[in-house]
Symmetry: C2
Subunit: 236 residues, 2 copies
């Protein structure tokens, strides 16, 4: 029996799995003309992502959506790169929205389209609704639903995020599959009873550093090279 | 200046405005082979919709999504039509999901597609997420986002539903427009500061009864014959 034979709902991680945040953000940073190393800036901005969400997840502060966390983190990184006073408020806000204009990996739009013919395909991202909707329009991605941390006020890997998404569709956990390029996300979904599909994205952190590498003990229901490969394996 | 010149977000009512609930439900009821008048049954089922939501809206009972309300109302209508014991649990549940399989009005899919080229186009329906996603897949409708009463735990015309949808996109109310075939829905949106587009659906309640007719005092920002006409008026 196919490991995904009961699955009706595919939930997709977005940053890194569907879109290439690093190259997109780096390009916008370099276009500012401040002489910044765009990739290094993007990496530094992104490295603040996990700890900033963790503070919300652990209840150290009330809910803040990802646009809000990105903005705080942006100001900290500009400071660290020594250009804190070089951008006015409008430029800061526009740079913060670089995350609304990320480009998709080349296989993503076609892969998702094929998967939608057979499955309900939704985001399950830590991005907020407006970010995901704008990004999807920009990158030509289409979804059956746009669910995210903001929908449930719970950042992954909080079990509430995975469970709430499955419940919203009236499904059992084993009828949903999380598709992600990150082992930690997949492990958390598996712990909630969801199926898991690993998507290999070796270039997420650039050509010099390997993307997320699963541990030898990780067992996912499926492993795929990209979304076209995932669609083919699922018979779409 | 065009009345919608600031508008970035179109929020659509769904039942009646985008899909023909009456003909679709009637067809499924008649297919049961119980000798029921499908259209009369659909009307009776639908007439319980407003009062059942009102009990939730007024806090007389905790949150129940529309699938849940539809199921309660279905059992009451089957009783009234004298066929309460003719369907087993599986048949009851399947009939309840007739609302997940509604057909769209003939102009809807093409009209929405055109509107999405220029606007963020989302549902803002009292239907629940699973219902709207299944219905959209069934009817070939595509959205940028699927927002609904369930997202905000607030049934329209509760102001919370309109305001929460606008806030989720980080917009001001006048940057969003509700598109609906029902004057009461549009009036409630206008009271929250949203723009309004009336969509004429004279056949919503069948050929013998006129659909929702605005009062002579109603002033909407736009009036349209269908979604293709709305798209044309908006330059899409």
């Amino acid at each position: 029996m196919h490991p995904a034979s009961d699955v009706q709902l595919l939930l997709f991680d977005v940053f890194g799995t569907v879109v290439d945040w690093r190259a997109s953000v780096a390009r916008e940073v370099e276009a500012l003309g401040l002489g910044l190393d765009g990739a290094a800036f993007a990496d530094a901005w992104r490295r603040r992502y996990l700890p900033s969400m963790q503070a919300v997840r652990e209840g150290q502060r009330p809910w803040v959506n990802l646009d809000g966390l990105h903005r705080e983190n942006l100001e900290a990184v500009l400071e660290r790169f020594g250009v804190a006073n070089r951008l006015d408020e409008a430029a800061l806000e526009d740079l913060n929205l670089a995350w609304h204009r990320l480009e998709a990996w080349p296989d993503a739009a076609a892969g998702l389209q094929r998967l939608r013919a057979r499955f309900v395909v939704s985001t399950l991202s830590n991005g907020n609704t407006a970010l995901l909707v704008n990004l999807s329009k920009h990158a030509g991605l289409s979804w059956d639903a746009v669910l995210c941390a903001e929908t449930f006020q719970a950042y992954k890997p909080d079990p509430k995020a995975y469970r709430s998404a499955v419940e919203l569709f009236g499904l059992q956990p084993h009828q949903a599959m999380l598709c992600a390029a990150h082992a930690a996300d997949l492990r958390a979904a598996a712990a909630c009873g969801l199926r898991t599909a690993y998507v290999d994205r070796p270039l997420e952190w650039g050509p010099d550093r390997r993307g997320d590498i699963p541990a030898s003990s990780d067992r996912f229901d499926m492993e795929s090279r990209d979304l076209r490969d995932l669609a083919a394996q699922l018979g779409c």
